[in-house]
């Protein structure tokens, strides 16, 4: 009843090892990898130079909600829209900030960033891209009536765009804004077609998107798939793939089954432990890169009790075997971090090292602080971090710190975090935070300054340093501030520092794709080998 593109069957043989692996997991009823049969895409046999060829089908855990890139804030939407729309800047596969619709940029002063725009770019409907488009796009997103959930520019105090000439535009704010170019690589900097939206209306645009991106919209069957085709006139040259299909498959076991059978070419939205059963499966490779999601424990350093003592907080850090957590919780797909920064973020300091795992030192510090037999505290986490919470509590118990655990639904946890610096979440809670701008700014903005949403650390020096990095547009000044902040964090231990998780993408060995850290699957350079 629903037209679904049928693809010629292609199956990989199931080896005995695959069989045993999946059977054992099926019996356990866990999240498992199973293969399914399918109608799978006939991949065009060869790729002519400069021409798009091949269909890539990937899954994600949720369906798209809208095709209007300024009305969404979910990875499920971004994965799709990033392929049809361009932003002013972007991140390449090495995570470098590189030009996209802007060819260069500079800070004219701390509150004005000037972008020189790419010439000759057209939207899929032929509408030209120029400075008026930048003004329209950014001001549409900022307009409260649009009700856009995209907040980086708004929080940075961006007030609007001044057109300097046809291909030059200034983004202006009411406060110093150091990372506008980095934030322009996110959907704050996405460019939408003014004439098309004004003519057809926002509701039509949200179902029939028109961007400047490498793929053009073909169709959206809610709950089934979003189809895109190559834009042969893409300013950077036509993409390697001729068709891109994104399907929502909420169950990870089903998604991995479909990958093994060839129904899917790539599965997104998984964590390391999901893909463990696939390691070594024939025809499948697991591509992983360090991501942008960091995990740590937020500590209330201000309410009277043991946690106000820096020695106690250091002891908690010494007591945690982070490498073991990475193995247990992420099946090894993660890296230990010294503070709240992953090494791929601007501002990362190589001068600080993580706390070594040293339970004896932890016990000694607790004794010095007056807690030779440890103490009791509470720790909460959202449901997705329940395993991590359990593991941390177990490790802390080994040095005498008894942790009563509390797990909340993700939404409830987020809501409690908004109120009174998360005090309802108790003296300690597990946080996962994504630094979308890949700048230290994003990693610290909610946690350091005492007035910040989730800050429970009042340190004058830290506040002064965070002010410095948030208000300067000079990279050297900012790096100095970040260096100071990271040293201070290790010294004062206002958090229990844990790890950054990897972005994990199981895919067919036929697929050639290197993701960057952001986790939005921009498939411009992805290709798929022929199966004949």
């Amino acid at each position: 009843m629903r037209p679904v593109q049928l693809r010629s069957t292609q199956r990989r043989p199931v080896s005995r090892r695959d069989f045993i692996r999946t059977s054992a997991l099926a019996a356990a009823g866990g999240s498992i990898a199973l293969a399914g049969c399918s109608t799978s895409s006939s991949k065009p046999s060869t790729k002519a130079p400069g021409k798009s060829s091949g269909t890539l089908t990937m899954s994600q855990p949720a369906d798209a909600t809208t095709m209007d890139p300024q009305l969404q804030g979910d990875v499920a939407d971004m994965n799709i829209l990033i392929n049809m729309f361009d932003c002013l800047t972007t991140r390449d596969s090495q995570n470098r900030l590189v030009p996209q619709l802007a060819t260069s940029w500079r800070a004219v002063n701390p509150t004005t960033w000037r972008f020189t725009l790419r010439k000759g770019v057209k939207f899929h409907n032929g509408e030209p891209f120029n400075a008026s488009v930048v003004k329209y796009s950014i001001e549409r997103m900022l307009n409260p009536a649009t009700a856009s959930p995209i907040v980086e520019f708004k929080d940075a105090g961006v007030t609007g765009v001044n057109i300097i000439d046809e291909y030059t535009a200034d983004i202006v704010s009411n406060a110093p804004t150091p990372i506008i170019p980095q934030q322009s690589a996110l959907f704050d900097g996405v460019m939408v077609p003014p004439n098309y939206i004004e003519e057809k209306g926002a509701a039509y645009f949200a179902k029939n998107p028109v961007g400047t991106g490498p793929f053009k919209f073909v169709g959206w069957q809610p709950g089934v798939q979003v189809s895109m085709e190559a834009n042969p006139h893409y300013w950077a040259g036509a993409p390697a793939l001729s068709q891109l299909i994104v399907k929502p498959v909420p169950d990870s076991a089903t998604a991995l089954a479909s990958l093994q059978s060839g129904e899917l070419d790539m599965v997104t939205g998984l964590v390391g432990s999901d893909v463990k059963p696939l390691v070594g499966a024939s025809g499948i490779k697991i591509v992983s890169v360090p991501g942008i999601r960091v995990y740590f424990v937020d500590i209330d350093t201000e309410t009277a009790g043991p946690l106000t003592d820096v020695r106690v907080r250091q002891a908690l850090n010494y007591a945690i075997d982070v490498n073991a957590l990475v193995q247990v919780v992420l099946s090894g797909y993660g890296q230990r971090i010294a503070t709240l920064f992953p090494s791929n973020a601007f501002g990362y300091s190589s001068k600080v090292s993580p706390f070594p795992y040293d339970p004896a030192k932890a016990k000694q510090l607790l004794a010095e602080a007056g807690y030779p037999h440890g103490f009791s505290t509470a720790m909460s986490a959202n449901a997705t971090n329940a395993t991590l919470l359990q593991a941390i509590a177990g490790q802390l118990a080994n040095v005498g710190v008894n942790v009563s655990q509390k797990t909340y639904a993700v939404q409830t946890f987020t809501e409690l975090d908004y109120v009174n610096h998360g005090s309802a979440l108790g003296p300690t809670y597990v946080v996962n935070n994504s630094g979308w701008s890949m700048d230290g700014y994003s990693y610290l903005q909610s946690y350091i300054r005492p007035t910040s949403r989730s800050s429970r650390w009042n340190n004058a020096q830290a506040t002064q340093l965070v002010t410095s990095e948030q208000t300067s547009v000079n990279p050297a000044t900012r790096q100095n501030a970040f260096d100071g902040l990271q040293s201070l964090m290790v010294e004062q231990a206002p958090f229990i520092f844990l790890y950054v998780s990897d972005l994990v993408l199981p895919m067919s060995t036929q697929v050639n794709f290197k993701p960057n850290a952001l986790g939005m699957q921009a498939m411009t350079n992805a290709s798929i080998a022929s199966i004949t």
């Binding site: 629903r2 399914g36 959930p149 949200a206 498959v249 089903t254 908004y418």
Partner: protein
């Protein structure tokens, strides 16, 4: 008869208003959707601005009156997440759920009726024990377990069926079996019990005494008399199949209302949750009314008034 139907429709309208009211307020007890819409690093000011833009900062009673006013015109409002009309979102997903529910019910009935008859006729035999144990297994095993096992067997070991998605009969088979196995057990067991009871009745003895074949006795006399409670159960099962497909739809990536419900609840998409619940309630009410009407057809002793 007409009076009966009109009275039931009147009752149904009252139930709908009550349910709409309860769902409206219960929805809002679960928390604020704005924090779910915004990224985790959004500020309180961002949350306030978005609340205002979505009309969520209005007094609750005003929001309620607005919702009920819309409902009177069959306007269920705009989804907070999809930013489009709730009714059209639901109608888009309804055919897939109806297809799955129909498939599951057909699967359940086709197997449950013969299984119930055989188990009743051969009561206490090995066949009875085997059949009832087997259907009990279907009732006990959760959908995600049956579903995953079916995928393993029929998509990998004997690769004949697709593992997920929608698109024709081949896609329907595994989800329909998964969803229908619970109903199969319920229907088979109630049919067996009823038949056993009916077999002891005088009119069955009379029918046998007349020399009718066993087949005729079962099909013409016993089955019709045993079917009244079965029809009730089937009616209830239709409601459950429509509303209870959440796990099955998740396992098989089936684009129906079940998946939409999960996402709407997760996202605290109040208007969408309200719309879906009202649809499910309406379905139950309509099916119950049909079952009551069917009673009169099956059993002439039942008079509707």
């Amino acid at each position: 008869m007409l009076r009966f139907v009109l009275m039931r429709v009147g009752h149904a309208a009252v139930v709908l208003v009550l349910v709409a009211t309860v769902v409206f307020f219960l929805d809002r007890v679960t928390g604020n959707p704005v924090q779910v819409l915004l990224p985790p690093d959004a500020t309180t000011a961002d949350a306030q601005q978005l609340s205002q833009a979505l009309g969520l900062n209005q007094p609750l009673i005003l929001q309620y009156l607005h919702f009920m006013g819309g409902l009177a015109h069959l306007n269920l409002g705009q989804s907070l997440y999809y930013r489009s009309d709730v009714l059209s979102i639901i109608l888009q997903r309804l055919p897939a759920t109806a297809e799955l529910a129909a498939g599951a019910l057909i699967f359940a009935l086709v197997l449950a009726v013969p299984a119930g008859i055989v188990a009743a006729v051969r009561r206490g035999s090995m066949a009875d024990t085997m059949l009832m144990s087997l259907v009990l297994l279907g009732q006990c095993a959760p959908a995600f377990y049956i579903g995953i096992l079916l995928i393993w067997v029929f998509s990998i070991l004997i690769p004949v069926l697709p593992s997920s998605g929608i698109g024709g009969l081949s896609h329907l088979i595994l989800p329909a079996i998964t969803l229908g196995s619970y109903s199969l057990a319920v229907i088979a067991r109630i049919l067996r019990t009823q038949l056993i009871e009916v077999f002891g009745e005088d009119y069955i003895r009379t029918a046998r005494a007349k020399g009718l074949s066993s087949m005729r006795v079962i099909m013409l006399h016993a089955l019709r008399n045993a079917s009244l409670p079965v029809v009730t159960v089937v009616g209830l099962e239709i409601g459950s199949l429509l509303g209870g497909a959440i796990l099955t739809e998740t396992v098989f990536a089936w684009p129906g209302l079940g998946q939409l419900t999960v996402q709407a609840i997760d996202n605290r998409d109040y208007p969408l949750v309200q719309g879906i619940v009202l649809l499910f309630v309406t379905t139950f009410l309509v099916v119950n009314l049909l079952v009551d009407l069917l009673y009169g057809v099956i059993d002439p002793r039942v008079r509707l008034s």
